[in-house]
Symmetry: C4
Subunit: 201 residues, 4 copies
């Protein structure tokens, strides 16, 4: 719907800036879960490892979203209603990450906490796909942009599938579920890797 769109790159810039603000806060408030232990004994500090590990994992996870959001929005050319609201939904799902991260850390990677974590990872991957479909429809239409969308939408679908797969695997062992999440991180971490050539076809 043409009349739905009302702004060019300047409007896109403000959506990016707002998203950056929200993601910056999400990624940073997670560290507040790392409460310094009252006692000074070293083993007290070591006992924080699950909370630290959960923080590091979620940091990498949200950082990957930011890096990809940054690249994807370089293809957006105007602000539509769909873009605003799909992006708001993406930020909402990401805002749940600190909760499930601290749940994961405090319950030491138990099966229940891991499943909750995988669900919290699945939700933004679906919202992200909606944002990307919107930009693909309303943004740059050159061959380079379309190839980018083709490749990353596939990669996104594989990621969502891996999170889903992680849920039953967690019932076998939570570490299998965490391995699924870590595999997704690996998949996105190296954008110029042979993995990408696989999705590019």
């Amino acid at each position: 719907m043409a009349d739905d769109a009302y702004e060019g790159r300047a409007g896109v810039g403000r959506v990016e800036a707002f998203s950056d603000g929200v993601v910056a806060i999400i990624i940073t408030i997670m560290v507040l879960e790392l409460h310094p232990p009252v006692s000074e004994r070293m083993d007290q500090l070591w006992s924080l490892w699950p909370i630290f590990l959960a923080y590091a994992l979620s940091y990498a996870y949200v950082a990957i979203y930011w890096v990809n959001h940054h690249r994807m929005f370089a293809n957006a050319t105007r602000v539509t209603n769909d873009l605003l609201w799909s992006n708001m939904l993406l930020l909402f799902t990401l805002s749940l990450v600190p909760f499930s991260t601290s749940y994961l850390g405090e319950h030491h990677f138990s099966a229940g906490a891991t499943i909750l974590y995988l669900v919290t990872m699945l939700l933004p991957s679906i919202a992200y796909a909606w944002v990307q479909w919107t930009i693909r429809r309303t943004g740059r239409q050159d061959e380079h942009a379309l190839a980018y969308h083709r490749q990353t939408l596939r990669k996104g679908a594989v990621s969502s599938f891996l999170y889903l797969l992680g849920i039953p695997l967690t019932l076998v062992s939570p570490w299998l579920g965490i391995a699924c999440a870590a595999l997704v991180a690996l998949l996105w971490f190296l954008p110029a890797s042979p993995v990408d050539r696989l999705f590019r076809r």
Copy 2:
């Protein structure tokens, strides 16, 4: 007062950026109310639903403000004293949302908490009208801008009325008050909807 205005679009940009920062923080710190339960039993997790529902409602509510703030400021052309201070008042009233949200969640949508919530929703709707009147007076004056202001100021007045109406209705049942708030959200959620044609006349 002409001598009151001192800057063009660059100044407006900084006001937008500051507002984005404040709104990004408001929308994100609300999630900090979602404390992970100590026990790992699933019913403990379920018992968080009022806090989660209150968070989701307020997220939608603040997101609607941001989306409309974004559109409205596209019509601003210079920074006046009125614009700065009405915008600061708007951000102040929005900053009370996390408080009434957590009050609503912790008191399980009781009558008292719902009334406080509706009042906290009423205040930004009044401050927003002040900002918009300022931009209408000092910003773009073309037909498109004036039509935008006419339509959204009407919609805003209806919203304020619905919040007011929700207060006595809450005394009948808190869910009637929440329904009023949800109706306002619906009204703003779909800017290209038939609802808008109604206000556009």
Copy 3:
């Protein structure tokens, strides 16, 4: 020192953006002090008034800083070492406001808390003067800019004096100290007021 300066308006823009981020966080985290009371009785809610009043006062106070920072930086043309560090000191002193605000609210505007609050207000007013002297020396040198600096530096000196004056007055009654702080707010609230003509000469 000419070789000290290394950037034009683009560099200034990033300093503004960083300052906006810090101020946005300072102004927003203060609301976190408003903890919803556990009991639902209305008198519990009323008992929050000193915390709410302290929040509203500090919000106005930090908002005034932002508005003036915004105007002052419109006169900066390049980033010097002095500008970066005086601005960092200003942000540091402002970052203490949430602490003294919550101290003021929790100790119900006692003499000790009011003095701490006035000191926390005095510090940024001194740091602000340093930033302004730097911009006056290195920024725009036209008549309009110089008149702006002359007027606001005087107003700043009067503000600092009022905070200082408030300290002994607090020993008589804390409300006299708060009145001094409120008077400063009033002085800055209306930049196009007769008050300004007074400082403009």
Copy 4:
């Protein structure tokens, strides 16, 4: 790898903006550790000095990083994968500063807390070097930029060494370790100082 880079200064701008957001939050949330004491007696307030001192030290420390990040990124001309991820790692290591700061403050500059603090200072200095090597490789290549990199990379190496040196010295006395950290701060605080001429050669 040329095909790895995909954006010019606009992309760099968004990386800067995101970094500014994260650093602004890191620098500001540290002040939340300054909880106002319940009792109003002045000695209660004085007993906060280690937390305040740790906050001021870390504020200076993160501020130095921001100032240098700001200068370094003025030399970046395009966004590469290396730049994005080295910068994300830098922000991650900086996000640990609030934790070790509050640990340092609550454990009154004990040996264990000081060592943890020095390690938390060492990590960003290594990540920062990676970011700088990336910008040196992919950014501006003129003589001015290369001289800047040569000088600051040396200064960075000396800083990392001082943090390392501080660790064994802390076992003698924690204040020797803090002195090492303070020496690094001094080294960076005055960029136009004779110290710089030393590194410039």
